[in-house]
Symmetry: C2
Subunit: 236 residues, 2 copies
Amino acid sequence: MARSALARAPRPGAPAVVLVSGGLDSATVLALARESGYACHALSLDYGQRHRAELDAARRVSQALGAVRHEIVQVDFGRFGGSSLTDTGMQVPTSAGTQGIPSTYVPARNTVMLSLALSWAEALDGQDLFYGANAVDYSGYPDCRPAYVEAFERLANLATRAGVEGRPMRVHAPIIELRKAEIIREGLRLGVDFSLTVSCYQADEQGRACGLCDSCRIRAAGFEAAGVADPTRYRP
Amino acid sequence: MARSALARAPRPGAPAVVLVSGGLDSATVLALARESGYACHALSLDYGQRHRAELDAARRVSQALGAVRHEIVQVDFGRFGGSSLTDTGMQVPTSAGTQGIPSTYVPARNTVMLSLALSWAEALDGQDLFYGANAVDYSGYPDCRPAYVEAFERLANLATRAGVEGRPMRVHAPIIELRKAEIIREGLRLGVDFSLTVSCYQADEQGRACGLCDSCRIRAAGFEAAGVADPTRYRP
């Protein structure tokens, strides 16, 4: 796993698959991948999330940050159940200080996303995936930790033609150890327009945030700590 | 990784997710999982394969072998390209003795399937996945090797709530080291009706096989080596 996108300079224009969710973390990761010289292939997952505004944001972010292609892959996680993000019978938590793994965790969603990114990277004959995991703010999610990213990279090298033939697959997680304020400052340095991004777990159709869920709280605190204006639009 | 389904006896009726492709290997694995006492949740992937008869076979097999539920998840791999099984512009190879990784390899398909199985298992609060990988006949596929299965199990334990909370996820690959004839004999012992299964990479709509592709050759040779009648229906 490479924590810095600059640690491994690619050949110019090498393809990379970048997971783009529509939030501010993955927007910053896309900007970092582009800065490193990759031809960025943005991948988003339509997993039956409540907050459809996320996918609109992913489209806008991918276009604004020069992705050469953006694909949205549909996977119906709702039929498996188990998460408040896909199960409308469950409540999205709005109290601060959630302990353990929150109900907004979608079982193995990030593993499925990385697997799809791996498939696309292999079809492109590429070796690089970019994943906006963050272990600081999302420490309750098991698949945002460095050990997980390292395990996925290891799997990727056993799973693929490239890995078998000695062209290693690399999973870049350039913001995994940054605080939210640092991610915001890094994004601003790279010209990311955060007004295009949506972080709220239950944004409305216009992408306006609730201001109450964990993701809204973390985002607002990040802009405050960074000392920059927060472009988030809240619903009335 | 457990090479024998019997190596780890479950609590009676514990849920397991079993990957069921419609072929004879995964049918035997489903029968083994049921023999071990699991409540089997069969999972198939609609990945835009040419041979749609596979999914009909997966339905029949799941029902005949007592799966408590069968889900087919659609993932459009065709848009990524790179495989003769999803790209109609490519030819399915029919010559024997293919060297290296064959063009029928769908990039990272098995990793995506296992990830989906992991998601379902986690939503079910289960700990067991069954994967019909075979390292003998499909040695050209990187994701059919024991080292790959072990790496996925390791990832699964880092990726999930169960793993984090000390209830280990297990990836069972009970036929990984069996020869095709041994798989067939094991299936017959368990009452698998192989006439329900389809192995051909380019079966017609009635599930009739071409008799020419690698998968057909391996299947036919397996029945011959097992010394049992081959129920495969070939097209005229």
